[in-house]
Symmetry: C2
Subunit: 187 residues, 2 copies
Amino acid sequence: MKIKLKAKNCLYPMPVVLVGALVKGQPNYFTATHVGILGFNTLAVSMSKGHQTGLGIHENKTFSVNLPSVDLVCEVDLCGMVSGRHADKARLFETFYGDLKTAPMVQQCPLCMECRLVQTLDYPRHEVFIGEIAATHGDPKVMPNGVVDYARVNPLLFVMEDKGYWQLGPRLATAWAAGKVVKHKLA
Amino acid sequence: MKIKLKAKNCLYPMPVVLVGALVKGQPNYFTATHVGILGFNTLAVSMSKGHQTGLGIHENKTFSVNLPSVDLVCEVDLCGMVSGRHADKARLFETFYGDLKTAPMVQQCPLCMECRLVQTLDYPRHEVFIGEIAATHGDPKVMPNGVVDYARVNPLLFVMEDKGYWQLGPRLATAWAAGKVVKHKLA
């Protein structure tokens, strides 16, 4: 049995990211949880209009998406509370650059993607930046044998319902394999 | 220090969903992990062209997004392995309908959203369906006091790198609050 609720977005948890952009030549970071994968090489980050980071993305047509570990929860939360108009949020991190040169990335984050802006979806109050990943930069500590181990990444997850940051739990099963166990149900 | 990798999408974990659609009048379900939040009331699901569920979304301009708990991992995985052309995947679940009438939802999933198709992004091999949430249906068992508790939802998460289904871990901190602890770093 189900209870009908108002139209509530319950597509959570979402990975929390720091979106990086150059704003008038200075690196700025914004905490985003309205994110998504649109294709193997394409992602989306959404934010209200007028954010400094959004202005920087329009300016340079590049941005970065950085995955923090849980140990950065306070700094990440602060980047969602304070505007780059009033504070230099880049002071919280060490910034580095990759191939695109104009997409500042966070050295403290174990996984960083630099992206080219390929499309912007315009909504009345917010906009969605669609990025094509140009290169990914990973901390060797989270890549034993060259494969990213998300238990080591220890990503920060977000749930809107309780305004909560959550942690990743254990690995359960393997995709394109677990389903074989119940294949007889379709016979 | 970072190692530069090829352009690898590392925006994981993502919540695993069953996307539901009517295909020639019959409910069909497809497992999607290329998903995202585009706005408070808007979400995106992406899939390769030609999937039965995608054809059904084009046909009816409606679809559902259902969040399974971890106990459905085998059935969910199977819905990503087998095409609706060759099997009646709706046999794995009990289907119900809401306001839109043409967006089949999964009774066994604790959270279900019925969506109106508002835009389709066309890529060479895949397409992104953008949906506006019309109504959300929740199992009372995951909503003590009317608030969704994601520990009770026990959602299924996906990581492409290890083709792994993962579980949600513990709640860590509260957003728009945790950041206060490090506010002095910007002073």
